[in-house]
Every structure is written in C-alpha cells, then in structure tokens.
Symmetry: C2
C-alpha cells in the first residue's frame, strides 16, 4: 500500500484519457441550428481570445516571478515547481473550458431532440471534463514533481512553489475573469436596453456574446482555478506538516497503531497519505461520473445530488480501506470525514441563503426603496457569514482533536479530495445557464426552452453552492498552510500578547480590506472600454442595428480589448498580497508573520462570505421579483431590486471570490519565505 | 507628588462647580422669540421623556446585572462599583445633555443679537458643560472608589465593575439613541415631504421635534457615554496592569530612574500615574474652556482648533512636570504623547474623509445611478479603515517599546486624558446644528441664519471628527483592557497556533458581525411606530396640518412610545456581547478568551471605521450635491445620493459607533471573569 502514491501520476494521466473520450463524445453530439452553431463559435472564439490575452499577460508575469524566486531563494527547484504549478492549472483550465463552451449548444440541442434527461447528461458530461482535468492535473503535477525531485522530507520545500504557481493562475482567472464578466454584463445591459432598445439577449449586440464569454471565464474557469489551487494547497500543506512533524514518544503514544514502524517510514507514510486520499477521490469520481446515466431520468436537481452523494460515499469507503491497510491512526479518518462534511454543510448553507425565506422577506421590503434593499442585503450577507465560520472552526477543531495539527491539514484534504465530482456539478451550472441563453437567442421551441430554463435554474443554485464551497475550502486550505508555515518556520508559539504579533494580525486584516476596496470599484473602467467598442460597432458595421442578413457583430474585438484592462486591474491587489507578507516577515519577524496570516484569514473569510452571500441574496431577490412576485418586472420594486443586484455583481463575482485566493496567496508566500527569514534576519 | 491622586475626587467636584456656573451663565442668556422658546421647550421635554424611558429600562437591567454579578463573583464590591460606574455615566450625561438642549436656542439668539463670536461662545460653553461633567464624573467616581475601597493592588479587582457600569450605559445610549434618531429622521422625512407635502423642517410635524431629540440623544449623549466609557476603561486598565505587573530585576534595569524606590511604592506610583494624567487633562481643560473668549473673534473653525491645541499643549506640559517630579521613567511620557497624537491624527483623517477629494469624485459618479454611489461609498469606507488602524498599531507599538505593556495602557490614557476639551468641541457641533434648525424653523433673519448655518457646517465636521476619535480611543482602550486581562488571568502566552485559540479568534470576530447585522436593520420597526403616531396626530389634532393657531403637535408622545422600542432593540446585541465571552471563557478556557478579545477587536475596529466613514462619505456626497454641484437638489444625481445617505444613516449613527462599545464590553467582561475562570474550571 505504501508504494501506491508512486502511481498518482498514472492515475492523473488516466483521468485525462477519460476526459478526452468524454470530450470527443460531447463534441460528436449534434449542436443544433445555424444560429446556435454560430453563437457557439462566437463564444468559443471569444473565450480563446480572452485566454490568449490572459496567457500573454501571464507569460510576462510568471517569467518575472520565476526569476525573482530564483534570485530570492537561490535555488532552481522551487522556481521550476512554480512554473509546473502554473502550467498544470492552465492546462486543466483550458481543457475544461474548451469542453464547457462546446457543451452549451449541445445541451440545448439535446433538450430539443431527446428531452431533459439527455440534456442533463450532456451538460453534466461537459462539466465532468473540467472535474477530471483539474483533479487529474493535480495528481499528475504533484506526482511527477515527487518522482523527479524525490520525497526526501528535508528537501521537500521546493514543492511549495507548485502551490504558489496554482495560486497565481487562480487570482488572475478569478479576479480578471470576474471583473471582465461584470463589466461585460454592465455594458450589455446599458447599450442594449437603455441605448439601442434591443431586447436583453439579442445576438446583434456584441456585448451579449462578451457576456457569454465572461460567464465561462468567471464561473467556470475562475472557479476551477480557485478549487485547483485549494486542492494542491491542501495536499502540499499536509505534506509540509508531515515532513516537519516531530515524531516523539508522545506522538507514538498518541497513535499506537503504527508503534512498530520505524520513524522514517512513519514520516513517509504521513507524507504519502494526502496523495492516497486524493487518489481515492479520483477513483470515486470515475464511478460518480458514469452514474449520471442511471440518475438522469429523475428530477435533475436530485440526479446531480445523487451522483455527488455516490462519489462521496465511495470516497469514504476507499479512505476506510486505505487507512485499514496502511495502519494509519483512525484519527486521520475522522479528520478527513469532518472536512468532507464541513464542505457539504457550507455548500448547503449557501444554497439555503440563495433560496431560503430571506428572499421573499427582502423582496417585500423593496417597496420602501432601494436603500432598504441594500441595507437588508448587507445585513443578510453579514449574518450569513456566521454559520460557515463556525463550521470551519468545528472542522478544524475536530481535525486537531483527532490527529493533531496534521489532522487540521487532513481536514482540508478531506474537503477537497472529491473536488472532481463537486467541480463537475458546479461547471454543469453555467453550461446549463448558457444553454438557456442560447435557446432563447436562437428562438427554439417552447418545450426546449422550458427544459433549458429548468436546467438553468438548477445551475443557478449549484453555482451559488459552488461559491460557498470554494470559500470554505479556501479558508481550510489557508488554515492548513498556516499550520504548515508554523512547522516550517519552527514556531512552537505565536504569542498574540506580543504587540508585534498584534500588529501583524491587524496588518494581515488590512490586506483583504484593501483588495476588496480596490476590486469592487474596478468594473467601471473596463465597462466603459467595452461600451465604447460596442457603440463603435453599431455605428460602423452597416445594417447591424437593423438586424440585416450578413451584418455580423465582432464580439472577439470586444473581448480582446477589454480583457487586458480587466487583467491589469488584478495587478495591484496581487502585488499588495505578495509584498505584505514579505515586508512583515523580514521587518517584524516570523512570529508577526504568523499573526498576519491569521489576521488575513479572519478578515478574508468574513469579507468573502459577506460579499458572496450578500450578492447572491440581491441576485435572487431580483429573480424572485422577475418571476412576478411583489409587483413583478418593471415595477418600482423591481427597480429597487436592480439597484441591489448591481451592487451585488462585483460582490459575488469578483471581489468576494477573490478573497479566497488572497487568503491562500498570503499563506503560500509566507510558507515559501519561512526558511529564509532566519537566514536573512529581520529588522525589529 | 505621590499623594496627589488622593485629591482627584476634589478636582472632580471642582469641575462640577465650574460646569454649574457655566450652565447658569448659558441659561441666563436670552433665548429668543416665542417660537424658538417653544421649540426649545419641546426638545427639552422630549429629551427628558426619552431619558425617563431609558432610565426605567436601565433600572431593570442594572438591577438584574447587579444581582447576577453579586451571585457570580460572590462579593459585593464589584457590584457596587458597577452601579457607581453606571451612575457616574448617567449623571455626567444628564448634566451635559441638559445644558446642550438649553444651548441651541441661545446660540441662535446670540447669533441674532451679537453676531458670530458670541454665538460660537454660547455653543462652545454649552458643550463644555458636557466636557466638564463627564471628565469630572470620571475623576470623582474613580477617586471615591479608591478612597473607600482602598488601593491595595491585591484587592483592586472590584474597580473593573466601574468600567462595566460605564460600558452598559454607553451601549444603551449609543445604540438606543442612535436607532431612535435614525428612525425619527426616517419618519420625519417620509411623513413630511412624501405624505403631507409640508416642508422638511416644519414645526407642525411632531417627528421634526423627535429628530431634534434624537440628535441630542445620539450625537451628544451617546458620544459622551461612549467617551466616558473609554476614559474610565483606559484608566482602569492601566491600574489593573500596574497592580499585577511583576516588578523583577529586568524591570528595574528597564526603568533605571526609579531604582532606589521600594517595589511596593513603585507599584503604587504606577497605579497612581493614570489618575495624575487625567488630573492633568482636567486642569488643562479649565484653561482651554476659558480661552474661547480670546479665540472666538477669529474664524470659528480655527477658534475651536486653537482651544483644543491650547488644552493639549498645556496637558503635555503638566504631564512633563508630573513625570519629572514623580521620577517615573520617561518612557511613560512617550507612551502618553503617542496616544495623544494618535487621537489627533485619527480625528484629522476622519475629517479628511468627510470633506476630502473623494466627495466630488463620488458625487460625479452619482449620474450612473444609486448602485454606483453605494459601491463607491462602500469602497471608500473600507479603504478609510486602513490608515487609522495603522496609526493605532503604531501608537500601541510605541507604547510597548517605551514602557512595556504598561505603556500600551498609558497610550490609551494619553489619548483620552484631554477628553474634556475634545468632548466640548464635539458637543458644540450638534448644538450648533440644532441652532441652525431652530433659526430655520423660527424663520429668523438671513444674517442670523447665515451665522448659524456656518456654525452648523463646522459642527458637521467636528461631529465626524468626533466619531473617528471615539472609535480610535475605543480600540486603544479595548487593547489596554486586553493587556490588563492577560495580566489578571496570568497568561504569559496566548498561542494562536493552538486551534482552540484560533476558534476563540474567529468566534470573537463573529460578535461584531452579528451585532452590526442586527442593528443596521432595526430602524424599520421603530420608524413605523413613530410614523403611525405622527399620522394619528395629524388625523386627530384638529387644525394641525393646516397650521392653525393653537393647534400643537405632541412630540413627547412620539418620543416616549418609540424610545422603548429603540432601547429594546439594543437588548439582543448586548446579550450576545455579554454572553459570548462568558461562554468562551468557561468552555474553552482563558487562552481562547484572549484570542476572542483580539478577534472582536480586529473585526469591531474594521466594521466601526468602515461603517462610520462610509456613512459620513454618503452624507457629505448628498450635502455636496445639495449645495448645487453636479445637478443640485432634486436632480437624478441627488436622488441617487439620497439612496446612499439612507444606507449611511444606520452605518454612521447606530451600528458603526456601537462597535466601539462592543469591543470594550467584551474586554471588560473578560477582565471581570478572568480571576474566577481557573477557580470554576473550564470544559475543553
């Protein structure tokens, strides 16, 4: 059993082969009328054109970081791992997003030809490519690194670079994609309804395609990069803790099962454990994916739930077998289980906030005016942060009680090991949502539109659940990385009675605050660039506004000129998040830096949940009113709800989710500089 | 010199005598036309009627707490000190608010008869009664307690009860008064402009008087109770630290000046120091107040600045003399100075946010719509929290570097010692603001209204500055109390590597979050009660709406029926803030409780600054547009700004400032239960 982790990269490759076959299968499906095909082609091209800009931007940034890391750390291994981490995230993301853009039109066509079960099947399978790709790249990347650099606990430090690489891709995808998406929605709305008077989703408006691109980039690619980052971060934190854990007699006493193994082997077993756990997640994913064929005939929401439940159930069974056979203490099992349950609970809570009794209550208050909608949404967002935070505290505490600080990291691994199955369901949401848009835009028959609308509504909820899960897992990962940091820095104690540690705590809390403040206002500039381009196209392309045959918009241009601006907006927040831990570490020392990590986690977690849930609440209040409640579309109440929704867009799509990555980024940077702080020395 | 603190209560009594003479002088001033007199009488009666309700509510609550404390701590002294603290706060508040309500009409009349200098003089002197009363009550209360219970370091614990009493009055005044004020403004606006079409400030509308009462309760009485609480909290934290400081050889080495004094005397000197410092503050206040006669002839804003500067300068000179004569180490001087400067800097920053270049920028964006105003205000609020937090970190750090953890507490004392002078200026703001309303309502001549408007505008800024100062001082006090807690609990180390301490940190951060969420939405209910009463009066009092001679509204009824509801809304937040530290302390132990205090300080400080500054920004954007910029009153831009301002009212007037007291309340409760946690034991 101990030799198994060696096979992780093969399992990673296998998952890619499975993903490839699924992709071929999805691509072979009929993709409908000329309009749908045309729309698909435009969205696909738009996505590629966004990614081109993003990769161009990233090549510059990653090269700079590569050189800086090399100079700073004075060795090549971390820099190489850094590039590997970035590359794995990019490959996973690219594969998944390609399948997702192919999936929407085929989902719509399947709904038309074969009805709901087939449509669900196609959207689920298109999503599963992303699930397989990101978990596969995680296994492959970490597996290859361990194979070629070796798993010697004393030199394992290079692997932190892998987590840093994943983190960088995540922040640019999540924040750049999010800002771009918000700007595109804003521009599409303004130029469409307000300026030209054409309907909401009209393919003549080039910004409408830009919105389709944005949905893919923000809700699928951004989410996937974020989860990939948490996934590898949790595994690497666990490896780092295992590599530095002091294996004392008390340790033996605590875990009597492995009393008869040699200390070195115990350590290696502990380091291998997280890899075994994610391999278990991968195996359960394979079965989970194919079970959709069995479940697809029932209620679609329930079908998605059942596949996830099956995958999670299988995962727990395999983990039980692993622990039984490796002789690991059973405490690890409870830590993994508590992580898994915590993830499910947080996801369900977000789903509850998105559709619970709060929505009609706030909708009813919309008659007082927009200010009341805003205040109620802010209050709901704040309150909604409490239970998830308590769940995370509980999971952490259970992890610690059952398996020490190693258990805390395992909790995060347990939450993220089934990421493949979870990501599949979340990717399925925006795919169905886009299928709904396409069937509306192509004016498909009413029954088809009913099916896609139904799937779209479910997609709406799974996207909300996904956002909650992503934040919960990011917090647990940041916390695991914090524990790894304390181990690597050799800190037995971080004493918050010391004013310098308190300063660290406060400064740490400022980083998420500054980053949110910068990112919630960054939509305007990008939106104005898109607006100008759309206006130019309507002006200069003859016959476009009148909808003449052959007059086509050029959404690619729209995308490419605004992508750079959106990505540029992420630069300052990233710089602040990277530099602050370096400054605090070398200025105030490792203990203050520990305080800083926790300060940023406390504030980042609150701001993430507050903004995401607040945004989701406003979005759903608007949707609820649009369904005809308390006045319906066009009423004063609706207008008040639109104000709430407009405030909520940057909350839930860019600033809120970006907090996830800010928390992890600060922890990873700290983990990387931890070994050199004592060598370089610190000032105060 | 060491015997001087014994005279603190006499200085307290002296300040009351001075305050009494000033009050008599103010009351003797002519108070204008029949309308002004009538308005003054109504506001004064409204205030008394609010206070009656508040005291009735408090008698019940304080008795319950008195008995609980007695049962819980098993001794009388703390309970008695608790009642004394509450009583001192009430007496100070009541004296100050009486003078303030008398001041407004007389300021307006002075403006009419003798011009600006005299008007400034009257508003300043009316405010000074509050300044003298609260600092006098602090000296008197602490002085008497120390005299009758003795200053034995081993039994000094009873004095924490005094801080708790002050804290309870502060939370009810601040939050209850704030919620009531918001509700009254909301109701006055709605019933006036929207429902009956009568002008904004029309004395026929009973809610208009209710707003006047609310301004007095929230901006003067609430602020005073908050500052009184910080004032006594800082002094008591310093005494607690001095009483438990271990006077080791290293300690001698650190402070060589007092090498030749006996350890017991050193300790007593350290315990006496904060009292000497606030006595210095009181002496400088006397001179500061009377200097208004010299400065009043220039620019009024500068005159207020000069009196404060003079008081602060004198204070520093007296502190220098004290330190020179007592042989205290000079480190204490730097700690006190850094606190004083930190307070000034935070106040100036808030003033800058309230009138800086951000206001026209956001006003210009109001043309895009209310959502943009909201987002910009939220972003500005977040960003504005950063510098004050860094200043507080810097002051704390300087305090620690110069005089150890004792220095941290002294920093808070330094910031708050000149509270008399500062409170005078802040109270002067709402008094001038009310004078402006009165001269508008009584239709005084244009020149008088220009003067009162000018003073009102300055008052607007000083109120903003006061809010920033109150939050900064609350944070420093909470931090001093945290240090006192660690000393009293005998915690050498609070290790945030321990998951239980992290749980404490997170749970601590949740308390301010829950309390803000609860309080920002609590205006609605109270507003609807006022609305109903106002509508009833317009319906049932014949001739009121038509403005017939003799038809008078009954604002007292308006006040009394809504006061109870507003005060009731404060109950749940207070309960949460009181119970959480008790639960964490006895469940997870003293170290977790230490983490909890810091968690609540980190989050409470952020939320306070974010909400207060955000609210102030929205308020000033609206005012800026009303002055005729970017479209002026009645434009779409103005409507968008009104949405922002409506969101901002609970932010800046109730929820934001209440965070100040939540932070302190958690620390004081922890300080009180610290000695009994080890005795009772804890569960995990």
């Amino acid at each position: 059993m101990q030799g198994l982790p060696r096979f992780s990269q093969y399992l990673g490759i296998l998952s890619f082969i499975v993903a490839w076959f699924i992709y071929i299968y999805v691509k072979k499906q009929p993709n409908g009328t000329n309009t749908t095909q045309e729309l698909e082609k435009m969205v696909h091209r738009g996505v590629i054109s966004f990614l081109k800009r993003e990769y161009f931007f990233l090549v510059l940034f990653l090269s700079a970081m590569f050189i800086l890391l090399r100079l700073f750390l004075n060795e090549w291994d971390t820099s190489i791992a850094f590039l590997a981490g970035a590359l794995c995230s990019i490959i996973g993301d690219f594969s998944g997003i390609t399948a997702a853009t192919r999936g929407s039109s085929r989902t719509a066509e399947a709904a038309k030809r074969s009805g709901e079960p087939k449509a669900l099947n196609i959207s689920y399978l298109s999503g599963s490519v992303m699930g397989l790709a990101i978990s596969g790249m995680g296994l492959l990347g970490i597996g290859l690194l361990l194979r070629y650099h070796g798993g010697n606990p004393d030199t394992i430090g290079y692997i932190y670079g892998f987590a840093l690489g994943a983190c960088f891709i995540a922040i640019f995808s999540r924040l750049g994609g999010g800002i771009y998406n918000n700007a595109a929605s804003f521009a599409a709305n303004l130029v469409g309804r307000v300026e030209t008077g054409i309907p909401e989703k009209d393919p003549r408006n080039p910004a409408v395609i830009a919105v389709g691109v944005g949905n893919n980039m923000s809700d699928i690619a951004g989410m996937a990069a974020d989860l990939f980052d948490s996934f590898v971060g949790a595994v690497i934190a666990t490896i780092a803790i295992a590599a530095t854990l002091s294996i004392t007699p008390e340790f033996y006493a605590r875990f009597p099962l492995i009393n008869d193994i040699e200390p070195t082997n115990i350590r290696l077993m502990y380091m291998a454990m997280p890899i075994l756990v994610i391999m278990a997640g991968m195996l359960s994913l394979f079965i989970g994916i194919f079970s959709i064929r069995i479940f697809q005939h029932g209620n679609p929401a329930r079908a998605l739930g059942h596949t996830t439940l099956l995958a999670n159930g299988l995962f727990i069974i395999i983990v039980t077998i692993i622990i039984y056979n490796t002789g690991m203490p059973w405490g690890s099992f409870w830590a993994i289980l508590s992580g898994l349950l915590c993830g499910i609970a947080i996801g369900m809570l977000t789903g509850y906030y998105a559709s619970g009794p709060g929505i009609p209550r706030i909708a009813a208050q919309s008659k007082i005016g927009p200010a009341t909608v805003i205040i109620s949404g802010l209050a709901a967002g704040m309150l909604s942060a409490c239970l998830p935070i308590l769940f995370i505290c509980a999971a952490t505490f259970i992890g610690y009680q059952t398996a020490g600080i190693y258990g805390i990291a395992l909790t995060a691994v347990g939450m993220l090991a089934t990421i493949g199955a979870t990501m599949t369901v979340y990717a399925c949401g925006p795919i169905a949502d886009n299928a709904e848009s396409m069937s509306d835009m192509s004016c498909l028959d009413l029954e088809t539109r009913r099916i896609t609308a139904n799937l779209g509504a479910i997609g709406h909820t799974t996207t909300a659940i996904g956002k909650g899960f992503a934040t919960g897992s990011a917090a647990l990962t940041a916390f695991a990385l914090f524990m790894a940091y304390t181990q690597v820095a050799g800190l037995e104690v971080i004493n918050i009675k010391k004013p310098l540690v308190v300063v660290g705590l406060f400064v740490g809390s400022l980083v998420p605050i500054i980053c949110s403040s910068l990112t919630i206002t960054s939509t305007d500039k990008v939106a104005s660039i898109i607006l100008e381009e759309v206006r130019r196209q309507f002006r200069e392309i003859p016959g476009l506004l009148e909808g003449k045959e052959g007059a086509k918009p050029d959404p690619r241009k729209c995308v490419s000129i605004s992508a750079t601006s959106a990505l540029g907006k992420t630069f300052l927040p990233v710089l602040i998040a990277v530099l602050t831990p370096v400054i605090i570490g070398f200025l105030l020392g490792p203990e203050s830096l520990g305080g800083m990590i926790l300060g940023s986690t406390v504030m980042g977690l609150f701001l993430a949940l507050f903004m995401i849930n607040g945004g989701i609440v406003w979005d759903n209040v608007k949707n609820y009113i649009e369904k005809g409640h308390v006045g319906g579309k066009g009423s004063t109440n609706h207008k008040a709800a639109i104000v709430g929704d407009t405030v909520g867009v940057p909350f839930k799509d860019s600033s809120g989710p970006s907090m996830n990555i800010i928390m992890k980024l600060i922890s990873v940077i700290s983990l990387i500089i931890a070994p050199i702080i004592p060598a370089v020395g610190y000032i105060i």
